[in-house]
Amino acid sequence: MANADCIIIQGSNMAEAHPVGFQWVMEAKSRGATIIHVDPRFTRTSANAHKHIPTRAGSDVVLLGALINHVLSNDLYFKDYVLAYTNASTIISEEFLDTEDLEGLFSGYDPETGTYDPASWAYSAPGEDGKVADASAFEGQEGSHWTAGRAGAGEAFGSGGPPLEHGIPARDETLQDPRTVLQILKRHYSRYTPEMVTEACGISRADFDYLARALVENSGRERTTCFAYAVGWTQHVGGAQFIRTAAMLQLLMGNVGRPGSGIMALRGHATIQGSTDIPTLFNLLPGYLPMPKAGAHDDFQTYADSIGRKEQKGFWAESRTYAVNLLKAWWGEHATAENDFAFDYLPRLDGPAGTYQTLMRMLDDGVDGYFLLGQNPAVGSANGRMQRLGMSHLKWMVVRDFSMIESATWWKEGPEIDSGELRTEDIGTEMFFLPAANHTEKAGSFTQTQRLVQWREKAVDPPGDAQSELEFLYELGHRIREKLRGSTDPRDRPLLDLTWDYPVDEEGEVDPEAVIAEINGRHETGPKVGQPLSGYTEMADDGSTSGGCWIYAGVYADGINQAARKKPGYEQDEFAHEWGWAWPMNRRILYNRASADADGKPWSERKKLLWWDETAEKWAGPDVPDFPADKAPHDPGDVEAGGAKGLAGNDAFVMQSDGRGWLFAPTGLVDGPLPTHYEPVDSSIPNPLYPQQANPTREFIQDRDNLNAPGMTGDAREEVYPYYFSTYRVTEHHTAGGMSRWLPYLAELQPQLFCEISPELAAEVGIEPYGWATIISPRAAIEAIALVTERMTPLTISGRTVHQIGLPYHWAQGTHAVVEGDSVNDLIAMNLDANTQIQNSKVTACAIRPGRRPRGAARQELVEELQRRAGLQLDTGDQLLTAPDFPEGTERQDIDLQSGESIEETFDLPRHESGGEDQRTTGTEED
């Protein structure tokens, strides 16, 4: 980042959330880079930027789309780069219809299920004018149960998206064909004008021009611009598309794969990257292999082909190999070619099983036991009240943490005990609190946000009963296997056949190096038997090698823990390849082939990174090439061979099946191939761009305790929830507070929950500076100290004043931490992004009033009083389709938006029905 000439920070408060990472921004600034912060609030990041541009939360696609429109319509994009490395020239099927044609929807929408069939978004095949490139590419998805189930589709297909049959679709290098991606883009974003930005985001023309000028002037051969985002983009319905818009813009400007370029995702937990690479996520297996789906992936080959076919371009072609190695690592000698490497041992999904679906199942008494491994959902998850109520339905719960977090004490001192909704004596949940070892008390690796795996040495032994997860999980697995020993039940085979013999030291602690060695993989047979793999290219698909996570292959190359390398940074170049190990293959900049032009020459001397060395016939440069090292720039690629061999010399985006950066995503996203602006779910502002108000594929969990504000469907005369709040974190605390509210040195720095409001809003509702304010959403009411500050700016959106409220979410009610406060996430509804299953916590409608909230039962009564006034129904805000002239959805046109008609049947999600209310011991009383 220090190499960037312009850094646009949007959807992130980097200086506050990642102060040490921000040093690189400050360094770039001191080297002359322009820093721009686009955010609803003026934060510590804004304070150090050249310019802060206040915007409306949730309107990011309008702004970024307008920038795309600006660079396209004024020919300001990096044409050589775009032609060489993106799919701009690719021709799309003539069956494709854009939002321009369909009032804000794309072709393929099924109003019954609220989902898209992406078949019409496909590439055109060469010669076959206007026909879908290869219909069979979508076999196994089209119309399948799985597609309808819409589970975490974005990540279900790994990082390359689902496969395309061939890497060479029809193209028009002149970019003139109206069906080329570039022309589609031009049309799609033609409505995204600077005027529209003013209208929808509240950003003035002057500010937009400043931003556009900074971006354009700092892109191209000589200069690069970098984007940084964080949960300010992901935690939206449609959040994945926010990021894609920025990615597309960066591709158009040639800012991917080059020094000081790219989109920097700033993540909030020590190894949140690692925990997706080696996922504790329902829909993924290690290395972004999807969990198999019932019906769709009943045999191994179908499963492997659905990820990447042998014949396709790029590294996903070897997906079967990666899966074989994983299965070998897990089931060792029991995984053989004959039994498809024990593929059948894997459980199958039939729909999303994320934390919010699990919660609804808990409330239905469908879950017995719950493990919390260093997470505090009673505070950190949306709709905290439902989270705690869900816990009261469990038979048992295991909390592993350092201190008595609120998810461990909810049965004794949670807000529901206060309000009388729950009584400790009536709660049957058996609680185990197991003290955890912390980061100094165990060795192991974290993967940080730039994919760098870093090993930690152990400093001391854990105190008392505290132990590492490694030791606990190993011990648990060991005992479970002991208890099942001799079982003949086939369902117990996967447990009994599991490789679970890790070396243990005299204190019962598992050697973590043995685990990372298994993740790295080794030769199982052959002359190198027992030797660690040096990289994933060494993996075989015949069972002669094993490896727990293919992208991590090489981390234990030569039997050396590469992640533990600690050669000081000041003794190395800026890539510091000998500090830790980055996946894949210790590469520090992904897609770095794009740092050179089509001929393999650097775009400029200033931004040199990788180049083709004619004499050595190799790619040279300070970073490890993210490309076959000896493939010449003009190599056409062996299309028939597929895989890495299939890549052409300029297919810089080696994970994509056409080798190109995707401006248009023919597959992989469930809510459209091009990012489109939709209003937040409970926004009462009409979508200024399309009749379609909100994202038509969003997921909503319908429950009496998860009501939505009416948004556009409400009574315009009395807006009960007229303001919008965003949640966020501050430097002084960490997430739900489990690692910060207990520490006096951090607690004293931000001792109380506060809300940030503009002086205008304070005057409007009568809140005193540093006095108390009560914030009420359709789910909960909380109190906070009001920081009345000019840092919050009221915006004029579509002719009306929009007030935004800032709420950090680190506090919770309890008596064990040093400081306490109400839990902000109690306010938030579970509305999920269909691509990622991440909830929206950045825009929520609310009311605010001066003074403290009521105590005891009166607290919930206040919430319900506002619900009544707003006339909330179970399905309020649940209306997916609002485009009146959507041709395929005519049968839904005449739905009365106020009627509250349930469209529950359009979902096949496991959901908590309203009728289940009275079965719960703890349900909210209906009046």
Binding site: P769, Y770, V788, T789, E790
Partner: protein, 371 residues
């Protein structure tokens, strides 16, 4: 909370002398009054209740801190002065052969030292370390000098008082063979006590003046006069009260001189101060204390003129004078504490003097520089 109790006594804020043109601080600074009595731990970090300020400060918070000197130090300031002037009185009496006055002065002195020294120790954060005061002899530290002054004075006072008490009790104290030595030391001890008397009375003024506490620091030009006068009137008053009219003449005169010096000195002191610095001496609790100190001093002073005739009047005016001295000390002490609470009292006089120097062409001595 300490500061709300001060607040109760605080009179409505008078109109401020404002620096024109200074815009009010934006976003929660300066002008706004905040009721944050809950916050703040110890006295010095509390939120000052600064109303209607039109100058820049950091949320109206104090800029300098006052030493944590509470009631025991107030007592010490009083009895230290009393002892100091009594030291001179006993020396004079000894020289002039005024045995009764000598005895009264010595007994007052030893009583004062007996009260003052423990008061000093009690006020330490770590009283068990009071001997650390004797580790060094620092001329730059009035407290260090004062320690040495007090200890020399106290040793002299102890010897002279021991002799007096011994004589008073008819040599019944168990001194045994040491008695001749005691008598032998009486003369030099009286001289020591006399020599240390004036420094003991005066050093506390330097001690207060040598701080960054605005009111004390600004009072440094006159405070020594106030303190020696206050000491004189107190010692004179006490001696006058304890001595028969015929022998109390010098005490009465000293007291009367003290009263004049005290009143003149205080007015002189204030005249050299910035109005914002002298305000605490006139307003609020310290202002009240000082007003009453002056009234008592005047009453006591008039009393001394009549005290030759009546022992009752002598005793009453003696007590009034002692009371005046005590009130003066507490008044000055608290005025200092009061003056640090409001950052204006630090900032504005400093800005004024900086401006004045700049206007006079001295531009090279500012802590803030543009280069």
């Amino acid at each position: 909370m300490t500061h709300s109790e001060y607040d109760e006594y605080r009179p409505p804020e008078p109109p401020r002398r404002r620096r024109g043109g200074r815009g009010a601080g934006p976003g929660g600074k300066g002008k706004r009054r905040r009721d944050l009595t809950e916050s703040g731990g110890d006295g010095s970090r509390e939120m000052a209740m600064v109303e209607d300020v039109e100058f820049e400060s950091y949320y109206g918070r104090p800029v300098v801190k006052a030493p944590p000197w509470e009631t025991p130090i107030g007592i010490y300031l009083f009895v230290g002065g009393l002892a100091g002037a009594s030291g001179l009185l006993q020396a004079g009496a000894a020289l002039t052969g005024n045995t009764e006055l000598r005895r009264s002065a010595r007994l007052v002195a030893i009583a004062a030292v007996g009260v003052g020294t423990p008061a000093l120790v009690i006020d330490l954060g770590r009283p068990e370390r009071f001997l650390h005061m004797m580790r060094v002899f620092k001329v730059s530290s009035p407290m260090s000098l004062g320690t040495w002054i007090l200890s020399s004075y106290a040793s002299g006072a102890a010897m002279t008082a021991a002799n007096e008490v011994d004589r008073l009790t008819g040599e019944r104290l168990p001194f045994g063979p040491l008695r001749p030595l005691l008598r032998l030391a009486e003369g030099p001890s009286a001289v020591l006590q006399g020599v240390m008397g004036a420094p003991l009375a005066a050093y506390t003024a330097v001690l207060l003046g040598d701080t960054a506490v605005p009111t004390w620091n600004a009072a440094r030009h006159g405070l020594p006069f106030v303190f020696v006068s206050s000491a004189s009137l107190a010692a004179g008053g006490m001696a006058m009260a304890l001595t028969s009219q015929k022998n109390a003449g010098p005490a009465r005169l000293l007291a009367a001189a003290g009263v004049i010096g005290d009143i003149v000195g205080m007015h002189f002191t204030k005249s050299r101060m910035h109005p914002l610095e002298s305000e605490p001496l006139e307003e609020g609790t310290p202002g009240k204390l000082l007003t009453w100190a002056e009234r008592l001093a005047v009453a006591g002073g008039i009393g001394t003129l009549l005290a030759r005739r009546s022992r009752t009047v002598a005793v009453a005016s003696g007590l009034a004078l002692a009371g005046a001295s005590a009130l003066t000390r507490f008044g000055v002490l608290h005025a200092g504490h009061e003056s640090v609470k409001d950052p204006r009292r630090v900032m504005i006089p400093q800005k004024d003097r900086l401006e004045k120097r700049r206007a006079a062409g001295i531009t090279d001595d500012s802590i803030t520089t543009g280069w």
